[in-house]
Symmetry: C2
Subunit: 352 residues, 2 copies
């Protein structure tokens, strides 16, 4: 009998809606569609690929109804991008915060192909004074905080909507989007947390005001205080961040050489360095990048060769810096809904 295939699976947090994270410790380069994390707010939508039309309407000169067929004939662009859920690493906040207890795997990356949103908007003709572009998904349901039904709808500011790399994607890693990841069309907003990358696009609407839907003004807002909304501000771009993929936290290892490896990413600029400490922050060393930094909006893969000569317990830290001089902080920015965790990455190992 030949050796059976060993493979990682998605880690299931919930099934209704389906929330599953990527086993990040076993992932390299781009993430296969099957291992791409799944984050849903509602059940999967009832959607048909027959007779699909994309409306682009609202505060425009000439509303459009674009067929999939026509969309695929338009100028396209392929963008490599990390999508990270705003709640990634939520599990590590202290005090703990309510919500899906994501570990480190609410993040994946790959190549998205589609039509720049700008092309579609220019075809419709944006009217002067337009402020935001609202993208509605086909998924909908009841929220725990109200009795009414909402669809998953988000807006982005007009300048982000017109950015050349904000696209309406129809392919992932060279294949049509799969249903669970937004078929037939998904907005991809590089550098922003992934709530902006709306799946199963139902319509695109230009508005001259600020969008006030609950996924814009209730969720995906940083609330620094537990009891009130003082100092609240919206979740937008990803924080600079890193994850140690290997070794695992609390692993027991031999004396000798070990590779410490992981990924680092940012929503602002690009990663300039990732430092490692194997003695809980007393000394730091720079890691080597094993992937390009010319990497679109992808993560950087880094590695550090560690000689663990002496038996004992070690606290290992990783700290990324980006080209806008943002650095992972010692302590996370605690906020009531648990978004944007990016404290210095920390594991312990024992050498025996």
């Amino acid at each position: 009998m030949s050796s059976p295939m060993k493979r990682p699976y998605l880690t299931t947090l919930s099934l209704t809606p389906e929330n599953q994270e990527t086993p990040i410790h076993f992932i390299n380069g781009t993430v296969d569609d099957q291992l791409f994390f799944r984050r849903n707010h509602f059940s999967y939508p009832p959607i048909s690929n027959l007779n699909y039309w994309l409306p682009i309407k609202g505060f425009v000169l000439s509303p459009q109804w674009v067929s999939l067929r026509d969309l695929m004939k338009m100028p396209s662009k392929t963008v490599k991008a990390v999508l990270e859920c705003a709640g990634d690493k939520r599990r590590y906040f202290e005090p703990k915060v309510f919500g899906e207890q994501w570990g480190k795997g609410a993040i994946s990356q790959g190549y998205w192909k589609g039509v720049p949103l700008r092309v579609l908007l220019e075809q419709a003709g944006i009217r002067e004074g337009a402020k935001e572009v609202v993208v509605e998904g086909h998924d909908f349901g009841k929220r725990t905080d109200t009795d009414s039904i909402h669809s998953f709808t988000r807006s982005i500011p007009i300048d982000k909507a017109l950015h050349q790399d904000t696209i309406v994607a129809y392919e992932y890693n060279g294949r049509p989007l799969t249903f669970k990841h937004g078929f037939p069309l998904r907005l991809i907003v590089p550098q922003w947390y992934a709530m902006a990358s709306v799946k199963w696009i139902r319509q695109i609407r230009v508005i001259e005001s600020s969008f006030e839907g609950p996924f814009q003004t209730v969720d995906y807002v940083y609330y620094p205080n537990k009891e009130n909304t003082e100092g609240a501000f919206p979740v937008t771009t990803m924080n600079v961040n890193s994850t140690i993929q290997k070794p695992l936290d609390m692993a027991v290892l031999d004396t000798g050489k070990h590779k410490i490896e992981g990924i680092a990413w940012t929503g602002g600029g690009y990663i300039t360095k990732v430092e490692i400490s194997t003695n809980n922050g007393e000394n730091w060393s720079e890691t080597k990048f094993s992937s390009d930094t010319e990497n679109g909006y992808g993560w950087v893969k880094w590695v550090y060769q560690w000689l663990a000569a002496k038996k004992g317990e070690y606290t290992i830290l990783a700290k990324a810096t980006d080209s806008t001089n943002r650095v992972q902080p010692d302590t996370p920015f605690w906020n009531r809904k648990g978004y944007g965790y990016n404290a210095i990455e920390k594991i312990k190992v024992k050498i025996e």
Copy 2:
């Protein structure tokens, strides 16, 4: 397009060896082979189903070499049993302990069919003075604490080996054992933590002494002290334990009625009650069992109807008691290698 299948996957902790846990929150009754937790000490063994013979030797009158074909003609027995890894829930020890960071899913149950070990031992004729039965698996490799190669080998005392429900299993849930779960033969030792249920049996050996292999005398030993071996004693039967399957820890729920449900199990006797507190232990209520307590060595499924009328945060506890009057303790019994965690189960939820 019809709604896509939603399903839980095993949660991957490591691939070499392959350690994956059952997503316990989505499991009912017996666990499908595909969702049965996988705990390996080494790579999967090179093993062939051609020409497989099981030796029963050592301190016996008449050593045996039993073919699979002959084994399947012998009297058989089907046993419903929980298998729980001794490291289940290790992640929850404080201070944290080294080793695989199992959550609550290193446990599964189902129906095992096989030949009572007693039948095989009686055929070989146990000599007077026999003390233990050593079962060796086909899996082997290097341990971090030595440079030599070891197979995964464990012993059980002669009286446990002769227990009518200790079987050499060849079927799980009505089908031949799958390779990852011990094909062609696996020892099943009900009531003991699952390290005793050796997979891929290579040989069975009766001895008149105490077996001293590293998986018997180094691992699977409770060490109450971090720095020395004082007070150490072997890991054997499962502790009384329970897990809340629903709701999830840190979930946000509507006001109204909610089912709190889960499982409870023990390695001694049977579960007599499971109590729930929705106010962090001030008051306790008994849950209802929705499965038989006449359940072989399976877990009990329990449920509690909770009316969450008032908004706010709730700490929910579950506490099981068994027929030998063992109760889950308030605080876990900390031990250096992190075995046998069974403190009162605790989650928090928010009603909004």
